[in-house]
Symmetry: C2
């Protein structure tokens, strides 16, 4: 039976428990905490070891040992003759930490990275936030069963694993991509990533020298331009305009024919949504071949096509020039953090090496679950189902927006793929202002203008349509319509 009861408590120390290990260590920890909490103030004198030992009902040796440890740690100071005190130097009170913090000289990059956090803060899961997974459409039950089945075996927690990703998953993905996207690949070219973002980050690390310039689409996914800015390439970014055929390759060549890398979204331009035309595809590949440049193809949502046949992946036409990136965040669960890069043979080892330095290995358990999910045909079935679900939501959002919003105030950019739409705003309507008013009204909106890097910054909104109920969509559309109307008047 614990003798706790018999140990008197004194305020700043709390209870010592004989069964919880060496008392001297407990006592030292308790006093450390008291100092940390500011209950023992810097310079404050401590009771004599004898008095404290009596108060605590422990041997004096125990207290001496604890005091010595804290003196050694510089938390207490023992002045000859003057007994032991809390060290004056070591002031940990909140107020002083505040002062300290003010005087700390911060690295220049701190502000930039802190702004990234702000910019990428998720919107609340209300219309029209993008990529809210269609809850009901999720294959949760199948996924859970597969997990339970495998978690005793392959997917059991284990030691260090393949930095490139487990073979079973790389095989399943290679097979899936050959079938569904005409991607030209073998499992040894597939690098499992934590999603498109990591694929982009790795590409930036590997493909570019300090002197290189790089093409990005204008507008572009902030996930790529923000990386380039953060690694010192802000002035090396060539913002190549996008028109109804996608990225304007001729314009890019005119702006900077020597660029080393082109980051593109050929199947569904992000954010505008048009596919890259075949003419442009050929021009882009010709440019890359002639220039020994690399093309990073971000194929983030090609599974979700609602009309016509998708173009096969660019990668299939030039597997030696194209790094193909995909993710399961859109079609399955963002929380999985599983995606892939299909990399030319000559670059595979470099991608694996760079990934080792970033995070060593991808977690293994869900890789096995996903591999089984694909091989057993669940993914194909799920895609067919979820495509239907999203198509229906998409139609409803389009119909609702057109019902509530006057066509002279805003109109939709044509697109037949993905989980979002772009709503262009009439002359004079500032998309950032609309987004702010939206937030206050409980409507989640992303301004398009912030995705432009060139001189042209048209005003529009990126609207997600997945995962919301009719009523929520109608309310949001009504509020958005009011906001636009008020601003226009």
């Amino acid at each position: 039976m614990p003798r706790t009861a018999q140990l008197p408590e004194i305020p700043f120390i709390g209870t010592l428990q004989r069964e919880a290990g060496p008392l001297s260590r407990q006592l030292a920890q308790a006093m450390r905490d008291a100092v940390a909490r500011g209950e023992l103030k810097p310079g404050e004198p401590l009771p004599s070891t004898r008095a404290l030992a009596e108060a605590l009902g422990v041997s004096r040796g125990t207290v001496v040992e604890a005091f010595d440890q804290l003196v050694a740690e510089g938390i207490f100071s023992a002045q000859h003759g003057a007994g032991t005190r809390v060290a004056a130097a070591l002031d940990r009170s909140p107020a002083s930490r505040q002062r300290e913090r003010k005087t700390v000289k911060l690295p220049a990059k701190v502000k930039a990275f802190a702004n990234i956090k702000k910019e990428f803060a998720a919107l609340p899961p209300v219309p029209f936030a993008v990529s809210v997974p269609a809850g009901a459409a999720g294959p949760n039950e199948v996924w859970r069963k597969l997990g339970n089945r495998l978690r005793g075996g392959d997917a059991a927690p284990a030691g260090y694993s393949e930095p490139q990703g487990v073979l079973a998953l790389r095989e399943a993905i290679a097979d899936y991509l050959r079938r569904s996207r005409s991607v030209h690949c073998e499992p040894h070219q597939v690098v499992i990533t934590t999603g498109t973002q990591q694929g982009l980050f790795l590409s930036c690390q590997i493909l570019m020298e300090d002197s290189d310039s790089v093409w990005v689409e204008d507008p572009a996914y902030r996930g790529i331009t923000a990386i380039l800015e953060s690694i010192g390439f802000k002035d090396s970014i060539v913002h190549v305009p996008v028109d109804e055929e996608g990225i304007d390759v001729a314009a890019g060549i005119e702006m900077d024919a020597q660029a080393r890398v082109a980051f593109v979204t050929p199947s569904h331009q992000f954010p505008l949504g048009m596919p890259l035309s075949m003419g442009r595809r050929k021009a882009l590949l010709a440019w890359a071949e002639a220039n020994q440049g690399w093309i990073v193809e971000d194929d983030y949502d090609s599974e979700l096509r609602y009309a016509g046949h998708p173009f096969p992946a660019l990668q299939g036409l030039a597997p030696e020039r194209v790094i193909y990136l995909g993710t399961f965040s859109k079609i399955l669960y963002p929380s999985l953090r599983l995606g892939y890069a299909v990399v030319p043979d000559a670059l595979v080892d470099a991608y694996v090496g760079a990934r080792i330095l970033m995070d060593r290995y991808p977690p293994t358990a869900d890789q096995y679950v996903l591999a089984a999910f694909i091989k057993e045909g669940h993914l194909d079935r799920h895609i067919r189902r979820v495509r239907g679900v999203h198509a229906e939501r998409r139609a409803f959002v389009i119909e609702t927006l057109e019902r509530f919003i006057a066509p002279d105030l805003a109109w939709l950019q044509p697109s037949d793929q993905g989980m979002h739409l772009v709503l262009w705003l009439a002359e004079g309507l500032d998309d950032r202002e609309v987004a702010t008013l939206g937030r206050e009204a409980g409507v989640a909106l992303r301004p398009v203008s912030s995705m432009y890097g060139g001189s042209r910054r048209p005003s529009g909104l990126v609207l997600g349509f997945s995962g919301f109920e009719d009523k929520a969509i109608e309310d949001a559309a009504r509020k958005l319509a009011e906001i636009l109307k008020t601003l226009a008047d």
Copy 2:
């Protein structure tokens, strides 16, 4: 009933199935694949649309549509009058890919990153590989049960989540670190990482300007020096010597007092194993305060202490100057890829922002499982148990090595923590040569000399002792003894 049977197969196309979607699309895909597989050769003429339509028992329109698509994609070319051929430009035969690859100009970094992959290749799980999880000691059953319990709720697959990590886990970790390591932290300072490697990578991105120099221990964990080399800081690395008290702060100040960051392993120097003495701790903190420098404390294996009390974390003495890194790879499962950084308030947002650009979010499911594992007391129990298991293995390895290896050929570096030991080799014995011979004999050895960056490169081996049976350890020790003896003679 499928009419497959009535569709004759022709070699390069395979079977078309009416119930499997548009025939023109199937046909185009089949021909694409045939080209990819090299069954249709570049320049090869194709049958007329009429002949092929008859052979396949489909309408001629279907074939024309498929041909048009492939011509549009540049896979086929239609010469006026000469019918349709496989495009000559598009040569995808393995031989030609080989040729192409040879002519591809590769980025300079490719070689460096590819070498990283080689250097970090895992050793086979035989003695004396490091950090092989003690299988039997793993809490697999508890872990699985927790997972099954939570996977229907919190840990169910979901949408995008907290880039900083889920609050439940950050709370559990903050509480655990305050208790066990005297780390001074609140949940809002905890950033969930995929392990120590990501914590180091983030620190390198945030804390250093291009002009800054940085202290690393000599010898040091290659995981940090390799990052610094890969991001262009090779010449900014100050290799500060380590002696029996740990990193020699005075020497560091003499070498470069202005360094911006010091990467250290105070509780158990990697790889040598001594703790940083209290005197050195104070000197290091004083240097950091005076110099407005940052200390990155890698506390990778402090849970595994076999004698005496561990020093509390350096972070507890200067929470505003120290970035504290920890991982669950050593004490739990490497395959989880879960660790943490405890970051000064002023840097939290920057760490989160930088992590967003690397991989957006950590996977969520296992974060909830781990949070419950800690909160319900399983981690503390597991640490107590696994510590005993490792201590026993450690004692056996030490005893065995001393039994087989002559003390004039090799001797152990004293250490009372962690999952590895360092065996110093006698003058004239080259540790890289020993490691190579070891590999051939089926013994996994890491040379210490490769972890040194300064002028001194003593010869020794890093030996892991966890997760191996007596017999395997004895065999490996015997082989190692023979290798050393042969080389010494």
